[in-house]
Symmetry: C2
Subunit: 228 residues, 2 copies
DNA sequence: CTCCTGTATTTTGGATCCAATATTGATTAT
DNA sequence: ATAATCAATATTGGATCCAAAATACAGGAG
């Protein structure tokens, strides 16, 4: 097994060649979030393994991980399928995010340091650059970093992990959202407002602002979802 | 929307002999929750697979699932270990449960049917029987059914799945809690009170009661956790 | 033509084997 | 003794092979 170029593994700080399984995991995530594998698609292990130049064993373990994250579903003896979110599913994910992220933001504001604010500002700068350039992928990445920076300041690693998993499960639809110029502009503005409220340590207002931010996203995504 | 198609459900309602992987998953859960595998223990694949009379392949896939659920941790090239919850971890899990379960209860109360109340009452009857008999395992099972019955009435399958995962991650410590006669009696009483509030559709009071219920549990478990 | 049935093919599930990495233990120099 | 080094062993990671199940397909009965 040849070690591929990939180093997107965000795991432990160990400097080690990634295992085939970690490589496959990253590739699968990318394939799903970029739409290369589309919601509802069955995942054929043989061909996919061949394409990634690994055997089916690490592929299957990676799929189990993705199943746990809700990116794919599994039926015994029938295989894995890219998760197809219904409208209800999407709303539910955003409802749960609301519950978890509100708490994360409150805690984060309570113990916010200048370093965190600065990191968020840097992420926001990248968001604005990507938004202007129309670079959807970079924007999604920077946007995520912006929010996670704040959440992580809460000092609740499990909570952050769950939030991250929820984000993952809707990644496939996020690129759609950023595809629209108007949405990109709105994200930039809403982030600026949220950042300002964070600087002023106004937890309640920040929570409200981010709730609205999410609502805009889900409403916009709902509009382009295929009818059931 | 109780999802008639239930894509999130584990078995899709099909009556089929379990795969080795499903069998192993169940056995591992039991081994961890009953303390047969204890927090911090490394999981030796070869011997465990032999003991369960399967190869390492389905074992490893089951472990990946448990990793996603937080019951085991994983380090590349070093293997899997039964998760050892710190005090902070335990408190964090209960905090997250608070956030999610409060919402689930509110939604459940809003659409509560007599069937659900009846199912909860039946589960409670079993809790009381097991509590009297000192049957810790049966009590844990019935207790879980009691709560899940209510949560599921919320009609939010993903939310329930996450709550269930959180419960799983602390299962190893729950049996400790039920080991105490006084705790068992308190659980019975608190359930009765909660059930009464549900019958009266008093969401706020029910949420408060269940929050106190959780607090008692976490406080009691904290007391017996080994010091860091 | 439709529906069933049995068969061939595809696809997934699992077992075994080999390779890569980590751990252990002995040995030696300081 | 202690620490470093290197061989021996144990354990995990991955590839290949075979078995079991599902799907696709062809042919025949109604």
């Amino acid at each position: 097994m040849t070690a591929p170029e990939g180093r997107l593994a965000a795991d432990e700080g160990r400097r080690r060649p990634p295992t085939a399984q970690q490589f496959v995991l990253g590739e699968l995530r990318r394939a799903i979030t970029t739409g290369r594998l589309r919601p509802g698609d069955p995942i054929r292990q043989e061909s996919l393994a061949e394409e990634l130049a690994v055997s089916r064993v690490p592929l299957r373990e990676a799929l189990k991980t993705l199943q746990g994250e809700g990116l794919v579903t599994y039926q015994a003896h029938r295989g894995y399928f890219v998760e197809r979110l219904s409208l209800d599913d999407l709303r539910e994910v955003y409802l749960i995010r609301e519950l978890l992220e509100a708490e994360a933001v409150r805690r984060a504001v309570a113990r916010l340091t200048d370093e965190v604010v600065e990191a968020a500002e840097q992420a926001q700068a990248e968001v604005e650059r990507a938004a202007a350039a129309g670079d959807v992928l970079a924007m999604a990445e920077a946007n995520r970093r912006f929010h996670m920076t704040v959440f992580e300041a809460a000092g609740l690693p499990r909570l952050v992990r769950m939030i991250r998993t929820l984000w993952d499960s809707t990644d496939a639809y996020r690129s759609v959202y950023y595809g629209e110029e108007a949405n990109r502009r709105r994200v930039v503005e809403e982030h600026r407002a949220a950042l300002d409220l964070l600087r002023r340590r106004d937890a309640d207002a920040a929570v409200r602002a981010l709730a609205a931010h999410r609502t805009h996203a889900v409403t916009s995504i709902e509009a382009v979802l295929p009818p059931p």
